[in-house]
Symmetry: C2
Subunit: 119 residues, 2 copies
C-alpha cells in the first residue's frame, strides 16, 4: 500500500487509471482475459463456457478488440473440426497482477455482501 503515491496526486495518475480501464472496459473483457489466463490456453467454446452469461457474439467481438490491443493471440489449430486457440501475449501477461488483485478483491467482496445480508 504505497502511501507515498497518495500525496499531492496528479491528473497523470488518474488518467493512467482511466487509460487502463479503457482497454479493459466492456462488460466481459476482464472475465475473458481471466479465463485465458487461468487456463493458459483456451478455445472459443471453452471461454464461452467459462464466462457465465456471455453470448458468442459478444465473445467474438471482445476477443477481436483484445487482439487488436495486442493482449491476446489467436491461433487457428490445424485440426479436423475448426478449432481456435487463444492465449495471452507477453504483453497481455503484464495484466496478471491486476487479474489476481481483482480476483482477490472480488472474493472478499462477495463475503462482505453475504455478511451484510445475514444481518
Amino acid at each position: 500500500m504505497t502511501d507515498d503515491v497518495c500525496q499531492k496526486g496528479h491528473k497523470k495518475e488518474i488518467m493512467a487509471v482511466h487509460d487502463t480501464m479503457d482497454v479493459l472496459s466492456g462488460k466481459w473483457k476482464i472475465s475473458i482475459i481471466s479465463s485465458i489466463c487461468y487456463y493458459n490456453k483456451r478455445r472459443f467454446s471453452d471461454i464461452l463456457n467459462d464466462v457465465n452469461g456471455i453470448s458468442n457474439k459478444m465473445l467474438s467481438k471482445e476477443l477481436k478488440e483484445l487482439e487488436m490491443n495486442k493482449l491476446i493471440k489467436r491461433t487457428v489449430l490445424d485440426t479436423q473440426s475448426v478449432t481456435v486457440q487463444y492465449q495471452l501475449t507477453e504483453y497481455g501477461k503484464t495484466l496478471q497482477t491486476i487479474i489476481n488483485d481483482l480476483t482477490d478483491w472480488g472474493m472478499k467482496h462477495r463475503k462482505v455482501i453475504i455478511g451484510e445480508k445475514e444481518k
Copy 2:
C-alpha cells in the same frame, strides 16, 4: 506473478473478477476513486476537475453508487457555501492495491502506444 493460481482455473475466480468489475463498472468510477485516493479528501468540484471529461451529472451519479457500495464516505462540511467532502472508507481503501496496479499499467501502456505510433 503467482503462477500457481493459473493452473486448473475455476469459474469461481472468473466470477470474482466479474464481481469486482461490476462494482467498479461505469466509465468513471475508478477514476473517481483514484482522485479521492490520491488526494485523501476531495470535494465535489475538485473531483470534477480531476477527472477529465466527466460531467457533474455523471459524477453525482457515480458517487452515489460508490457510496451505496460503502466504498466512499460523504460529508457535508459546515461552511458558508455548500461544500461536500468525499473520502474512501476503510473498505474503499482495500482498493488501493488495485488502483496502484491500474495506474502503473496505464503509464506503461501509454508508452507502448506512443512507441507504436512512432514506428
